[in-house]
Subunit: 421 residues, 4 copies
């Protein structure tokens, strides 16, 4: 059974939204430095290196390929990928991510990496061994078990003992490096027939490696009929495909949160994906400011925190402006992530949504205006069996009066208000 | 919002498994009498008249039709179906089900009826009115919104005000009669495009009728992506198509309970369907004893109670044998229905399943042998962070010793053991 | 086996595109008069009364319903629908369509009607009899076998003998009236599980009625894997859902013709649907001129004739302008319908299509410009193993020179050129 | 456009049914010798080497893999696979299949080979070049375009010019070798998104190579909505997945032939797959005699010949028994393959099927008993508008009398009779 060392969803930074496949050791350190200095006190702690850290020449043919097929990768003799020294110079001589993890740990933060499900294709074609065995990679690699959008790996055969040994060897290596978090890709929505079994193998590998490592599954949407599997074996799982800074995706997240709200519990977090705020997109087709309005960002932060989604910042931290920073450092809003009860959606229709949660002292109610115009949104507190005459809005810190027990707010288009009552 | 007057799932008897469409007033009274005398003290209280109580000549062409198409039905001037006096003599002169409900209430029990979603086809074709309006049934009936397996009704148009008025008039009538429970059919799995809106109309109609009436939805399987709707508007909803006495259906229920376990809460119960035990099937093709072995019945009772499914007996009560009666009167097992926490599946594979729940004093663990052979099933209590040296098995009342903190039981094929620790 | 009295596809006029459900006897006569005077000599001969000729008050609630549910219909004692005397006054006193058919025949033309698959719903609910039997309609009507878009009928049970007797009684009546063509609706794309068997029953009913009656099946798209059934039992079958005057539908027809080109043979014609030209739409939401450009109309006429689709004019004939009339009276183009060989598509891509057919003397080649701009379209005649130096374009009657054996034409957007070589 | 040098479907022998992946040069020669001596005069002429002729160690791990993943293959410097010298010793020193093709040609026969769609995976991973270019295989190989059942290849990108150049280089090589027939696999049912374009590239490559080479596409079922593509670019295409010696597959072929009967024409043959008769299966899990009864074999031969399917013998020819040989040397039956008209199914139901074709002098009618018992099958010749009093059965050479113009035959279970009238 899953070891549960989390009582609230992980919070941190992830390199993908800004750097795509091009993040370097220097970039990671700069973001970690910023986090330690400005965000750590608010609970932000994970620094995660996303996809393709093992590949050469990443980003050099971006118009053709996000992931260059058949490109060289850095790999050890045991079919295990290593950081590419082109971008991670401290990884030379087999040091792997240990120097970078040490750096992050020294800042009082935690270190995470992304991996693809499976074993490198090149390992199968060159018959490198699995550590501690005489079994070559070609014996566990499944030739027709591939990721449709990334060319690096073959899935492994769960019926072969060496497959578990391979995953164990991976996690042993990551534990040596000091990895605290793995985001495993091409696994969550179970495109591959072996995905469920590979989740269990990863869980087993973590359990045996001697280190507390968060298991994060990507990409979504996760399958609701596999909720029990995710809850039992993983810590977080993406409930959407890649989330970006446009309103239809954000609007759609309300439907996804409705679907998954009953599956939030200690150590188990349906994941709304990274926060595409601030400066993003440099590794894609050029750095840009988030397309979300400030009201939409408030909606996003309010929903993610109420729902207790994992919180991973997509922005380049060193370029954060004050307004964005203020979104990330609102202790009342972030406090929703720590509530012990399950949040619940009360209303969802074309124009509005209402969510709530409680702790011993307060009821927290979020009113969302999903329409494209400024709009009054209200909720009758009697439906919850509570009576109140005033409330505090947690973004503005304003105290408001409640008449006839009906909470009313005038909310901008795509905006939200969060009340503590 | 739903008025919530239930803190545990409804328990009772339903006429379908034994009588199909042929149940009479005398049959209902006899079963109610038995329940009052023998089962009431264990919590059994609902007496439910299932399908076709409004139709003439039911059961007379059983080889051709379960539900005779275009057959005469009893209906009032307001397009509302009434009990057919052929089988419910006390219903004459517009008395409806009031006399029978009174009888059941006088026994200290509760009275329920089945209805089909929609408005009678014949009402549409003869243009009878909706009560309190000049609108004919033909204005709200939707000609292509039909049930595929029952010929009686047309679905109603949720965009017409008179549709809500019609449902209100139905529930007003049922409240007058003293109905405590309605099982609405052709609605739960949302075959019809209007089903979700008809659920809300039914919920509204109940809220306005002035009586606490349980809203039960049939048939399943319910749609998991509509869980929020069921939880918000209904009290129970079928998570399976009709459940009968064969092992593959019972085995399959473990998968269904896994899917729905997070959606059990006060007043909201995913429904595993009636218990096809004792004598059943008379109205179908002849009375027979349940095909379930006693071990399978123990498995069924254990799972239903742990999961907190509604409990509706399918047997003809007056013919219950002692062994079956003992299944229905085990206070420890039935006590699981009252636990305040959500039960959880801990293990499910081809051969075994393990479920648990807790209260302030105890942990309850069920071990199931899903294989076709006698088998030892075990569970390491350490996984739950508990330590124990003994436990009581709640079917046999035997105390067992626990070695090395591992609960072990030798369980017959398709059987179960239930431990209180 | 099908009696085959057709050697080229039927040509005629159909009331639907202009009148929808509102066509009257006077309208039919006026169009027949026009056809006899102006079109008959070019091969146009069928005059077809489309949907709802048996219903009262058609078109009176057009904003709500194209087909008014539960509205009164004219029906005989044998469950057979009759023309509604509101719109067909000559049908009174049981005369049915005989007087109108006689009128059409006296003009040297042929008479057709539309029917819906099945038996009237009201016949089932009122238990009227099947002619020559004691069987009531309710015994053959199938309560859950309905058309999704028209409320009039129930499908019939092909396992009951009385169902064939019912269809025979219908065709006997139509033969008495002098009907030459039936367009049977809700049957071609086999939405209903009984559709294939109802096609065979209709075919049998025609074979026994003693009159040559064309069997036309609607709506499409027909199922390609049922091609053998259509070819064996019907004379024409729709390969598309309702076709209207917009370019995407016309463009799409090239794909459909490709799919069906091998299934054109004597007496068997995949049907591209009516020609929405001239004045259309009065019974819908107001008369308007076709939205097709003249080039698009040339494309449509060229493709339909080459493919040997049935040709049914949708326009109100009495309002035909000269240009539209010229489209319908080009003997060279219409002559393609009489070719004895199967036409073949030679090219189809995003921007162009080429079709051909041959007779003993000539090769006919059509070049289509499917793009949105004027464009040169060419075809190398060597591919067909033919050599030519000149050709005649059949719309313009121009002679053109062919250089290097390559047929080239500068064609307007969405236009066509038709060459006889 | 396709060069058409075929006027009847190809006839020959294919190594797959007997040898699977293990066929050797000696085996091919032995079968070619037999064909030349015993079958050539009846029209059999193609000798086809099926799958994996380029792979090492084929068949050595048959319990695990039909096609060993990541196994060594023989390949030239231009990413083109060559015969593996382990099994084709004459291929050494770059001779390829030329010596074997010469051998076959010297017997007066034709030589064919199987290939997989695409370019070898190992070519992509090792970046070998495309002939005549500087483009490495990795530039045209598509990392996620794979065959699901064979590990050898990546599909190629049809948007890259070098992909056509690659296919041209393949066909140039095959033309040099003297190949007369290529069976291209993983392409016919268009599992891969590029399949249709790869068919066209193969067609182009054949057209430019200077040799008449039959293009055969596998595996089926082909997509009926792509019939135009197959007819235009290929010579034969499989209408079924692999066909083996069991009755349900043979019975199912009647449905498939119905679907495709209109698509048979000169040079274009829907393909019912090899004839699994005589001794087969050695390379699978052991040699065995066909499981078809002789009546079933007569049914198969009758249907294939009437339908004009390509005829490829699956048996090891050197082990043919006399009865099987007689099936393959019945000139009257094989003569059906040469008829100039399209054959037509006249009847198909659960128990029987009737097919026909004609030439200038005769009508040919096949009666099939599809039921599991001996049965009289009859057909009324009047349906075809012909009259006859006698007929010859072409398997038995018996003359039969026809009474009342009805052809009647008493046919064994799963058997057939073929009449010339």
């Amino acid at each position: 059974m899953k070891k549960n060392f989390l009582t609230s969803p992980p919070m941190g930074w992830n390199s993908y939204d800004y750097y795509d496949t091009t993040v370097t050791e220097a970039d990671v350190k700069a973001n970690a430095d910023y986090m330690a200095a400005n965000l750590k006190e608010y609970g932000w702690e994970y620094v995660v290196v996303d996809i393709e850290w093992y590949s050469y020449n990443t980003g050099t043919r971006r118009n053709e390929h996000q992931y260059i097929p058949f490109e060289a990768v850095e790999m050890d003799e045991y079919s295990r990928l290593l950081p590419c020294p082109q971008r991670f110079p401290s990884a030379v001589n087999g040091a792997g991510f240990k120097p970078l993890a040490d750096y992050v740990h020294n800042l009082g933060l935690k270190f995470g990496i992304h991996i693809m499900r499976g074993i490198p294709r090149i390992a199968a074609h060159t018959h490198t061994k699995i550590k501690g065995t005489d079994v070559p990679a070609s014996e566990i690699a499944v030739f027709n078990n591939i990721c449709w959008w990334n060319p690096d790996m073959y899935g492994v055969d769960p019926n072969k003992d060496a497959s578990q040994i391979y995953y164990n060897s991976l996690l042993d290596l990551y534990a040596e490096w000091g990895v605290d978090f793995i985001k495993v890709d091409d696994i969550c929505r179970m495109d591959a027939p072996t995905a469920e079994k590979e989740i269990i193998m990863l869980h087993n590998a973590i359990n045996q490696c001697g280190r507390d490592i968060v298991l994060s599954l990507s990409p979504g949407p996760a399958k609701i009929d596999k909720a029990w599997c995710y809850e039992r074996y993983a810590n977080m799982w993406r409930i959407t495909d890649d989330f970006w800074d446009n309103w239809p995706l954000l609007l759609n997240m309300f439907e996804r949160c409705e679907l998954w709200e009953r599956h939030v519990s200690d150590g188990s977090y349906p994941d709304c994906d990274m926060l595409p705020i601030g400066k993003i997109g440099k590794g894609f087709f050029g750095e840009h400011d988030t397309n979300f309005t400030m009201d939409e960002q408030i909606t996003m932060m309010s929903l993610w925190c109420m729902f207790k989604s994992p919180m991973m910042i997509g922005a380049e931290l060193t370029k954060l402006d004050d307004e964005t920073l203020s979104l990330l450092t609102n202790k009342d809003i972030l406090g929703l992530l720590k509530l012990r009860n399950q949040a619940r959606q009360l209303v969802r229709n074309k124009n509005e949504a209402v969510w709530m949660n409680t702790d011993d002292n307060y009821t927290y109610i979020e009113l969302f205006n999903l329409s494209d115009d400024k709009k009054e949104v209200s909720f009758d507190l009697s439906e919850l069996g509570i009576k109140a005459e005033k409330a505090e809005e947690l973004w503005t810190k304003e105290n408001v009066c409640i008449n006839h027990n009906i909470l009313i707010s005038d909310i901008p288009a795509h905006g939200a208000a969060v009340y503590r009552i």
